[in-house]
Symmetry: C2
Subunit: 490 residues, 2 copies
């Protein structure tokens, strides 16, 4: 069977696009930069949502919903925020269409909004304007709220999941009585993201703080988790911001503290988006298609019958029914594909493309031997197992795959994390190999920008738990207390 995907080696970027389309994850829509998330892709996103939502609730957060629209004037309230987002805002100016004399419809100019509305690119402003009424005293704090929503940032160059004009995300917005509490929350939620990436996506990430250059518009500090993709580029996969009192001041949100003093409220915000789908796709997949971590796979096991005669299928159907039931009873999601419209080889390729972790094949000989052929998606290995105890076998294999692909991704990252002690060495690595480069930096914006202009690499983060090591900036030779992570990035 012909390969349906461009290989990674040939053209990594084309491989990614092919994969997203061919595995039925998403496609471009008729609206510039906006995607359609197809049922199979959405099923993965739903699994991610469900786990994250549980993690947020377990850490004390509640969901709520705030308007899609933000009055234009709200954006201007926080100077850095408007600077960061104004250039990519979709703007609603009218609220009615009318029939056009030339046929079709046109904007009704008599229905012009007094103040234009922006489609939320993020919701700090509308939310802090609301919090003003919710917070009077320290008793109203902390306020721990999350929102699942769509947001719009008018990006010029878009890529499915990785950068789209509209995307789905969650945004946490918390309010606290003290700087320490807000900072603790910021770091705690970064930890939740890192745990999710590791435990569920099987994706190792670096936790760190962003440089001023890469900080969220309006934040005092931005923290992120950074993952390494197979092409050696980094992907920022989630951010958590310590907002200080910036938005409280912009929207005049104060509270009476325990001593009766009026203070501005402290804040955090944090978010992950459908961009995680891009990370998940690129973290583990290969030239045959998607490789999904079992914990997030919509279908964990597919069963394919192998037969020539209809009588054989009847016997296989019966055996499969027993297997299927025992797997379901163990909480495993199973699909039995006994369609007679497609050959087994076609089905094998199809479920490989879609990243189903385990494929069970059963033919007449398996019926005789009470056996089943099990193929692992991650290693592509096949092995015969007895039907007896199949649920335990499958469970153990799914765990093995979950662990295995994490370890593989971790090994990949370790093998693609380099140390550079001179700018020459740094440029050589970035240009030829990619990956993370740990290097000393003098802490200035100028040096960071020079490196970016000359090599396209950016500082991904200053690691949260660094090895403290005195050194000299690779560019200026000025002193540096520890290495930071550089990489080219998505």
């Amino acid at each position: 069977m012909a390969k349906v995907l461009t290989s990674r080696k040939e053209n990594y970027s084309q491989w990614y696009n092919d994969l997203v389309i061919k595995a039925d994850l998403a496609e471009n829509s008729a609206v510039r930069g906006c995607m359609v998330i197809k049922p199979y892709g959405y099923a993965i996103w739903e699994k991610m949502q469900a786990v994250l939502d549980r993690m947020f609730k377990d850490t004390g957060h509640s969901n709520a919903y705030f308007p899609l629209f933000i009055p234009k004037s709200f954006l201007s309230r926080e100077a850095d925020h408007v600077e960061g987002f104004a250039k990519e805002c979709a703007v609603v100016t009218h609220y009615r269409l009318k029939s056009s004399p030339s046929g079709g419809i046109e904007v009704d100019e008599t229905a012009k909004l007094e103040e234009e509305l922006v489609i939320r690119p993020t919701s700090e402003t509308i939310i802090w304007n609301t919090y003003k009424n919710w917070i009077q005293s320290y008793r109203d704090l902390p306020l721990l709220i999350n929102q699942w929503a769509n947001v719009v940032r008018w990006e010029m160059r878009t890529r499915l999941f990785l950068r789209t004009a509209e995307f789905l995300w969650q945004e946490g917005h918390t309010a606290h009585a003290t700087r320490e509490e807000a900072m603790e929350e910021t770091i705690k939620m970064l930890g939740v993201y890192a745990d999710f990436a590791k435990e569920w996506m099987a994706m190792p990430v670096i936790k760190g703080v962003k440089t001023e250059n890469e900080r969220f518009a309006g934040a005092v500090e931005t923290y992120s988790i950074e993952a390494l993709m197979q092409d050696g580029k980094a992907l920022q996969s989630g951010t958590s911001h310590f907002l200080g009192q910036n938005f409280a001041k912009a929207f005049d949100v104060t509270f009476l503290d325990k001593t009766g003093k009026l203070e501005h409220v402290w804040a955090s915000s944090w978010g992950v988006s459908t961009r995680l789908m891009g990370a998940l796709i690129m973290a583990h997949s290969d030239d045959n298609g998607l490789v999904l971590p079992p914990k997030l796979a919509p279908i964990q096991v597919v069963i394919v019958p192998i037969y020539k005669k209809t009588e054989e299928l009847a016997v296989i159907d019966e055996r499969v029914e027993v297997i299927r039931k025992s797997l379901i009873a163990s909480g495993i999601s199973v699909k039995y594909d006994n369609r007679d419209t497609h050959k087994p080889g076609w089905k094998f390729a199809e479920y490989e493309l879609k990243g189903v972790p385990l494929r069970l094949a059963i033919g007449p000989r398996d019926i005789e031997n009470r056996s089943v052929e099990v193929a692992r998606r991650d290693t592509l290995e096949k092995k015969i197992y007895p039907v007896e105890g199949i649920a335990d076998t499958v469970k153990a294999l799914l765990d093995e795959i979950q662990d295995g692909i994490y370890k593989k991704a971790l090994d990949f990252r370790d093998n693609n994390t380099f140390r550079a002690d001179s700018y020459e060495e740094f440029r050589e690595i970035i240009a030829s190999r990619g990956g993370f480069v740990l290097a000393h930096w003098d802490g200035t914006r100028e040096t960071e920008e020079k490196i970016n202009q000359e090599t396209k690499a950016t500082i991904r983060c200053i690691p949260l738990d660094p090895v403290m090591e005195e050194g000299k900036c690779i560019v200026t030779g000025k002193p540096s207390p520890r290495r930071v992570y550089f990489a080219k990035a998505y």
Copy 2:
């Protein structure tokens, strides 16, 4: 304690608004017509979503996501559709803001869209434009897709949950090979909504078909479920549309049928929205606040300690922990409110306002007697029960409440469903009592409009399982095969 709500008798509409605000369900936002759904309100919506989502999946549907934006020209493709929605569309005309010379920010006129984008008021057009590429042959059918999303309809008069410019909803969009299948789906999903209303919301509904006047813009037939509120007004709570081939023709979606003939695809669409929250609130609540069906209550049981001395609280805490654990083990959601900042009376009123189905109070005497006082939110009855077997007691009471409030709502509806055999009688009932009025109608648009102009009542629906009964139209005296439901409506 002073009543926090206007009574229903005094001013039903004010009672509703008070309740939504005071029970922390939602509030108006800074954006005209858009609401903020607060955590407690959102928690109820999440429960509704989870159940409906399960029901959709159990009937074979998958979720997906389509763009928020609809190119203006798409709307015009289906003549009735554009006629119905053009007047309430929010229109995006620009994609960038810039600093204003006078300070603040303004729309960047150089960033004008070539074609304006409408915020989806509903997604038939963008979805059928997408389906065109997904459907080639009968093998691609049926396509059973649902989307959870926000939509915008620029309403002039808005009310929290009942009618807002932006609202949250789900919209099912299905494609079929035959008229019969599409019609079967339309009716099936109406049934899902009716079951959900009955089994989960404890709200009886009438299933019926809408008259041409009230049909969804672009549908061949619109079916709805109609509920009766306590003020005698009807609330359309969900709709399911048989779209025929209207959208398939508008977007040229054809398929090769089994005989190799090219045919247009048949369609249904169906939706319920955060309007259901309004229905739920009004269906059961009273002058003390919200009454929630236990199956949808975020907190099913609240426990309040009654004590004077701190030592007493320590003992109560210990007993409560045992009770709490046994309730949780039975799948019951429990909150223990032992805050010392509020008195028991305040807490009682608070949880009554919020509609918590059962309140358990435990004082020193209960500790001695191994008893607990249980108060039902629906009847406000209190009774002492032994701690032994409390989980079973609570479970049984929750079931009783769920059944009881359904029965109460059904009795209310039965007692407020009238038959009118003359127009005079009809006008008298509508003006003085409200409720549903079953009357004969000649089937014409003119008569329906006359009745509406003169009485404000509309035909809510032609019931799906009517008692066939020959009669004469109350206005024109022309023959009618069965009575239809009239009411004033939200």
